[in-house]
């Protein structure tokens, strides 16, 4: 086998590499460059503008953690809006809940969904459920104009340096608040606390969410292929405390199959390292 490696910069002076067997796809869409590779260790993986979005091997961690904590706090969620997530992974996790009635997935780039449907059925299978409506539009524009109200909004964005930039603004979070029900929850991909640039984006997002939502929390997961492996999510609402208000028995009674998430881990995920607490406090 040729000695082919996919590398990306996790920080200016740090690179992360995976041996690849072949590149399955490359294209330049209206918004970004989309690639799919095949690798011995991580299986197939998707990159956008040279940044790893998901691998078949570890995507379950990210997708379970961006979905299940909110459902374990509010198992009665019926209507869900997902921004981004053109790979289908978030939709796949949501469709495990029989009680959910409507899942609107708003992805800006039609090509991401098309490429994932072709090369990444492991996540794209999430689009097959009849409750899922796939809408190709700018996320901010959709939220700003939507007449629907949602019990849960999940923001599965790219980093705040490309098309995902608008999903890290106060006007976006504010419009999300407007589109949520009284007990509604906003969960967002919240970057990482470790490398400087990611940490700056993380603290900025936390500050802006806090200006819009009375209660905002951050929780974590360990995702091997993301920079530093230590990744954060945001949990914001008008009045919910994700640990005190956890409805563990109700959630466990649903028997949702997961490999990473469980209700014990739920409590631990909100227990943050001291340096992260300091970043959030001082941000």
């Amino acid at each position: 086998m040729d000695d082919l490696w996919y590398s990306e910069y996790h920080a200016k002076d740090v690179r992360f590499s995976i041996r690849v067997t072949r590149q399955l796809h490359w294209e330049k869409s209206d918004y970004q460059e989309i690639s799919v590779f095949e690798s011995p260790e991580f299986g197939r993986f998707l990159t956008l503008d040279g940044i790893m979005m998901l691998t078949e091997r570890d995507e379950f961690i990210y997708h379970e953690m961006i979905v299940h904590p909110a459902l374990a706090v509010s198992p009665d969620i019926r209507r869900v809006l997902v921004i981004g997530a053109g790979d289908g992974g978030v939709a796949r996790e949501l469709t495990k809940y029989p009680g959910i009635e409507r899942i609107d997935v708003v992805e800006i780039d039609e090509r991401v969904a098309a490429v994932c449907k072709e090369f990444l059925p492991q996540t794209a299978c999430g689009f097959r459920d009849a409750r899922v409506n796939l809408i190709f539009q700018d996320g901010l524009k959709f939220v700003r104009r939507t007449e629907q109200t949602y019990d849960l909004i999940i923001v599965d964005s790219t980093d705040p340096f490309g098309p995902g930039e608008v999903l890290f603004t106060r006007e976006f979070y504010g419009n999300c608040r407007r589109a949520l029900t009284e007990r509604g929850i906003l969960v967002n991909q919240h970057e990482s606390p470790f490398y400087r640039e990611d940490a700056d984006a993380m603290t900025a997002a936390h500050r802006l969410i806090g200006q819009v939502f009375p209660e905002s929390f951050v929780y974590q997961a360990h995702i091997p292929t993301y920079p530093s492996g230590h990744w954060l999510f945001g949990f914001a609402s008008a009045s919910l405390d994700p640990v005190a208000d956890l409805r563990a028995d109700e959630w466990n009674a649903l028997n949702i199959p997961t490999r990473y998430y469980n209700t014990d881990l739920h409590r631990g995920a909100f227990a943050l390292p001291t340096y992260v607490k300091e970043l959030l406090r001082d941000g």
Binding site: L140, K141, R144, T169, R170, G174, N175
Partner: protein, 481 residues
């Protein structure tokens, strides 16, 4: 002429290749003498920050590449002659006025002129004859000049030498420039156009008429706004009946002898770009503006206005590339929305006055940023809207001119607290910046209405410029008047 050429750009590229040994100014010597500046602005930029020299011509007396570049600009703008200006459009407006009126002569102006025009009157001693622009009370903005009003004013001041017209105003409103030009020329007046916000009229389709096309004599054109050149670069255009050599002499009275080649080359490059792709560029800007207007009006309470204001006279035409939005329906002053956008949403717009905001759109904009602006306005409405009370309605205050600006500016003065100035004659300017249109000019009586307006603008957080007293809590008024 070949509009794909850019003589100044070509000459600078050539000079860069020549690797001349510099024993002339500037003393940074292509940046090498100022490493911090080089680090900040870059080697490519500093290598062309040079002084005039044989192959690069001389701005004060152009005979080579600057002359060629100016000739190309003249052709592109449909003018008989074009001057490259490096002192902002302020310098172009002032040269235009100084070249046409002398001490004691009358010039007809709409009151909503830029401060630079009245500053020119302080310099030359000419006397302003103001035409009250019609005002839209709902929007709180001054409109254009009515043709009938211009006719009456010319008849009442038969010795006036020139008339100045905004084409368009900051908000995008145009007077009937063709009709005003015809009237003025019939009575022997020169027509001077302030096109600080109108460079795109020369290239876009379905936009209001440009000054040169309307037959005006001179036009001051801000290339650095819609034209895309560097800040402070501008054009002064002359029509066929103007003595361009005399205009050059006037320009040289106040223009630097070290004209920046960064600014000059940016004019040359931008002219080429506009001549080649201007129509396409401004069609795109207009699409952005149309989309944003529709979405902002759908939010409720905001009013993003456009061609529907056109009334055949004081609003003869509207510049649809402008995004002007009235905010009074929210119970918020424009300046308050301006501050919220910047402080809470990280969005910097062009200006906010008491009732309106102006977001400047250009070819450099992206869909996602337009979405951010619209969404932020939606959020401001949701979070900050209040029942509209206590907002001043109209912005236009008729000036009472007692002295020429020059006589008042140089007269003996005394400083009084604002409230005590009522009834006195002002010895200085008061402007809200932006837009930089005078509330009070030297020689005008301070009325109770004006004092209240200044107090209110201070309270709302407007930047008041002009008075010697920096916070405008006191004014210099004429002694013993």
């Amino acid at each position: 002429m070949d509009q794909t050429r850019a003589p100044l750009l070509e000459a600078l590229e050539h000079m860069r290749g020549d690797r001349l040994v510099p024993f002339d100014v500037p003393g940074h010597k292509r940046g090498k003498g100022n490493p911090a500046l080089m680090e900040f602005l870059g080697e490519r930029c500093l290598s062309v920050d040079v002084n005039s020299m044989k192959p690069l011509d001389n701005l004060c007396h152009p005979t080579g590449v600057i002359r060629e570049a100016e000739a190309l600009a003249a052709e592109a703008f449909g003018a008989a002659h074009a001057f490259f200006m490096v002192g902002g459009t302020t310098s172009a407006v002032q040269a235009m006025i100084l070249a046409n009126v002398k001490s004691g002569e009358e010039i007809i102006l709409p009151r909503n002129v830029h401060q630079s025009a009245i500053h020119a009157l302080v310099l030359c001693g000419a006397v302003p004859v103001y035409i009250d622009p019609q005002a839209d009370r709902r929007l709180g903005i001054a409109l254009g000049m009515s043709v009938e009003e211009v006719r009456r004013t010319i008849a009442a001041h038969p010795s006036a030498k020139a008339i100045l017209v905004n084409n368009p105003t900051y908000y995008g409103i145009c007077s009937n420039l063709r009709a005003i030009t015809r009237l003025a020329h019939e009575s022997g007046l020169r027509v001077l156009a302030d096109e600080a916000h109108g460079a795109h009229f020369y290239f876009g389709e379905n936009l209001p008429v440009s000054a040169m096309a309307a037959g005006a004599d001179l036009a001051a054109v801000s290339m650095h706004k819609s034209g895309g050149s560097l800040t402070q670069s501008s054009l002064l255009l002359c029509g066929p009946g103007v003595d361009a050599d005399y205009v050059r002499q006037i320009i040289n009275l106040t223009q630097t002898t070290s004209g920046s080649y960064l600014l000059l080359s940016s004019l040359d490059i931008s002219r080429r770009n506009l001549a080649l792709s201007g129509a396409e560029i401004f069609a795109k800007v207009e699409r952005f503006a149309e989309y944003a207007r529709g979405e902002i009006n759908a939010l409720g309470d905001y009013y993003a206005y456009s061609r529907e204001l056109v009334n055949g006279d004081s609003v003869f035409d509207f510049d649809t590339t402008k995004l002007s939005v009235n905010t009074l329906g929210l119970g918020l002053a424009g300046i308050e929305v301006y501050d919220l956008l910047r402080d809470e949403y990280g969005i910097q717009i062009e200006f906010g006055d008491l009732g309106n905001i102006l977001a400047y759109l250009s070819v450099g904009d992206k869909n996602k940023n337009i979405e951010r602006l619209i969404s932020a306005l939606g959020e401001i409405r949701r979070v900050h809207r209040r029942a509209g009370r206590g907002l001043l309605e109209s912005e236009y205050i008729r000036p009472v001119v007692e002295r020429s600006p020059q006589a008042a500016f140089y007269a003996e003065k005394v400083s009084l607290p604002l409230a005590a100035c009522i009834g006195q004659v002002s010895g200085e300017f008061v402007m809200c910046y932006p837009p930089g249109i005078p509330i009070l000019a030297p020689g005008e009586r301070v009325t109770a209405e004006i004092a209240e307006y200044i107090r209110y603008a201070r309270e709302k957080g407007c930047l008041l410029t002009g008075p010697a007293c920096m916070d405008a809590s006191r004014l210099n008024v004429l002694k013993g008047d």
